[in-house]
Amino acid sequence: MSKATGRVRNRIRDLRLERGASQQELADEVGASRQTINAIEQEKYSPSLELAFRIARFFKRDFEDVFRFTKDQ
């Protein structure tokens, strides 16, 4: 079985700006630090499933509206 490699992309920054929320407000709401939200937005850190669902719930969006998995070329 071939191993699919890729990365988790997200639209958190766009959705956050659309909603007019700061990184700190999002961080407080989902129980993470502002630095962690910044790292997720920059796609340096992939959140756990639990945190990812909390973020999607904050934006009142489906999970896949916020996060998507893209395969490496």
């Binding site: 700190q24 961080a27 407080d28 129980g31 993470a32 630090s33 502002r34 630095q35 962690t36 790292a39 340096k44 850190y45 959140p47 756990s48 945190l51």
Partner: protein, 159 residues
């Protein structure tokens, strides 16, 4: 820079000083800041060795206490670790563990090779003496902490 990163930077400075202190007490060679320091291990009586070991331990413990009391986060949201902090902490603990394992093995290989190829009495960094054993093990202990601290800083930048 988060309070946690600032604390790690200070701890790295402290471990560097502790390492310098123990090498200054147990080795000879070039003079740095008025203290001899180098690759020749000076064998000393057990009381002096115990004093050097105790002093280094006390510097490390007092330094840690000061750093943790001065640089503890003031902002309540920084007091609790989130999942990324825990991930970085765990990954860095692993780096520290493997640095310790690598250091101990390096020490073993060095001692064995020194004994195998001993061609003169005053071999540099001869760890086969009480002072050498103390210096070698203490250096590995501190190097492990330094590797862990560097790993935390790198991971905070990269992940």
């Amino acid at each position: 820079m988060s309070a946690h990163e600032k604390r790690v930077w200070c701890e790295l400075g402290l471990w560097g000083f502790v390492l310098f202190f123990i090498w200054m007490r147990l080795t000879d060679g070039v003079t740095v800041l008025g203290q001899s320091f180098g690759l020749s291990i000076i064998d000393q009586d057990p009381v002096k060795l115990l004093w050097a070991y105790g002093s280094a331990g006390a510097i490390a413990a007092i330094g840690q206490l000061i750093i943790r009391s001065v640089l503890s986060p003031r902002n309540p949201s920084e007091l609790e670790s989130d999942e990324r902090d825990i991930f970085i902490e765990r990954r860095s603990d692993q780096v520290g563990y493997w640095a310790g394992v690598g250091g101990i093995n390096l020490l073993i290989v060095h001692v064995l090779l020194t004994e195998l190829f001993r061609f003169r009495e005053d071999m540099p960094l001869d760890f086969v003496s009480p002072a050498g054993i103390l210096l070698g093990l203490f250096t590995v202990l501190v190097a492990k902490e330094i590797a862990r601290g560097v790993s935390i800083l790198v991971l905070y930048r990269r992940s």
